[in-house]
Structures are given as structure tokens and as C-alpha cells.
Amino acid sequence: MHSGSTVASKNLAIREDVVRRLDQAKRPGESYSDVIARHLDEKPTLDAALAYARAHPSTGKDTLTPRLREIRRQTDESFEARRKRFEAMP
């Protein structure tokens, strides 16, 4: 815990969406500094990622997978168009 310490402080500009995430990550009695420090100290693990994903399932229609397929298709088209241009060069 860092709250209550006498270390110097600085004002930071934080995006609203990040503030919302900090609020969600705060444990009882934690300050924003505590949350940030805790996350910096934590080594990300697959177990933690899986637990987080399990606790935050997506609802509604799957829009991500079709988009990933489209991204892949467009990336391939872009590469292929370039290859054809090279092939057509004398």
C-alpha cells in the first residue's frame, strides 16, 4: 500500500476509459497509485488472463471472428495485388 506515505506526487492526465478501468480494478482501500503500482509489479500469467476472460465473457453476437477473417482476407488481397504488379513488370 502506498496511501498514507509521504512521497512526492505528480498530476497525471488519464483518459476517462482508463479511469473507469482503474475504478474497476481498485480493491477496498486502494488509491489509483496503489492500483497502478500493483499492476506494474504483477507478472502477467496465462492463468490470470484465463481467469479474467472467464470473469468478463462477451455477450451478444460474435462480431470479432468475422472481422478477423475479413482483416486476413484484405491483407492477403493486398499482398496478392502487389505480387501481381511485380509479376507484370518486364
Binding site: D17, R20, R21, P44, T45, L46, D47, A48, A49, L50, Y52, A53, R54, H56, P57, S58, G60, D62, T63, L64, T65, R67, L68, R69, I71, R72, R73, T75, D76, F79, E80
Partner: protein, 136 residues
């Protein structure tokens, strides 16, 4: 076993699909090494960033950051690039050109000793033939 997770499977993880989470958990428990390529890292993050719903985008980003930070990354380095080029040339000669992202993933996975690519698009990877493809 060393598994390379393709983007469609990563999509399932990001969306919290129980079957995908269970499979990843089981593989990790069995001592398998789970990895991702830089191609999938690009695709998944782009897919998330293009999501129109802000709340969903934030939710997926928060989940993805955790997976991206915890899964070892396989880059597309020199050996993989050369492997991809020679295999693509052979496929083009046969009139069976591979989709470039699939090819890059297969070559990166093969160059780093992955045993399998976990994907919903098994046929595409089978055609490339550099690494065995399995469905989740």
C-alpha cells in the same frame, strides 16, 4: 507440446468462450507451451480496435492485453520469411497459392518448433503443409 494459437481461437479466448478457455487451461495444465505469432497479434488487436461498440472494445482490449502479455510471441524473423517465400513459390507453381497471413503464421510457427497450429481454418494450413493444423 508447443502450440501456436491462430487468430480465430484467440478471438474465442478474448470473448470468453468457455470451451476455448477450458481447452487453453487444460493444455497449460498438461505442460503444453502456448504461443502466438506477431501476425495474429496484429490481426486480433486490429479487430478489437475496429469494434464500433466502445464498451465492448474496452472489454476486449482489457482481456486481450492480458493474453498478449502472457503468451510468448513468435516473430516473423529471417528463417520464417525465407521458409514462407520458398513454400509460396512452390505453391504458386502448382497453382495453389496460399493466403499470405496463413503462410506467415505457418512459417513462423514451423521455424520456432511449434508442433501444431490451433485454428478453425485447418484446410488452409493443411494446404501450406509447414506445420500440422488442429481444430481446438
Amino acid at each position: 507440446m508447443k502450440r501456436c494459437l491462430d487468430s480465430t481461437f484467440l478471438s474465442d479466448l478474448v470473448r470468453g468462450v468457455p470451451a476455448a478457455l477450458d481447452a487453453a487451461e487444460r493444455w497449460a495444465r498438461d505442460g503444453d507451451e502456448l504461443t502466438i505469432t506477431s501476425v495474429s497479434r496484429y490481426e486480433v488487436l486490429l479487430g478489437i480496435e475496429l469494434e464500433r461498440s466502445e464498451s465492448r472494445r474496452e472489454q476486449w482490449r482489457a482481456v486481450w492485453e492480458r493474453f498478449a502479455a502472457s503468451l510468448p510471441l513468435i516473430p516473423l524473423e529471417g528463417t520464417a520469411a525465407a521458409l514462407a517465400a520458398t513454400r509460396q513459390a512452390a505453391l504458386i507453381r502448382k497453382g495453389r497459392r496460399a493466403a499470405v497471413p496463413d503462410l506467415f503464421i505457418a512459417a513462423a510457427a514451423a521455424s520456432q518448433g511449434c508442433d501444431v497450429v490451433v485454428t478453425d481454418d485447418r484446410d488452409d494450413f493443411d494446404r501450406i503443409g509447414l506445420v500440422k493444423a488442429v481444430r481446438p
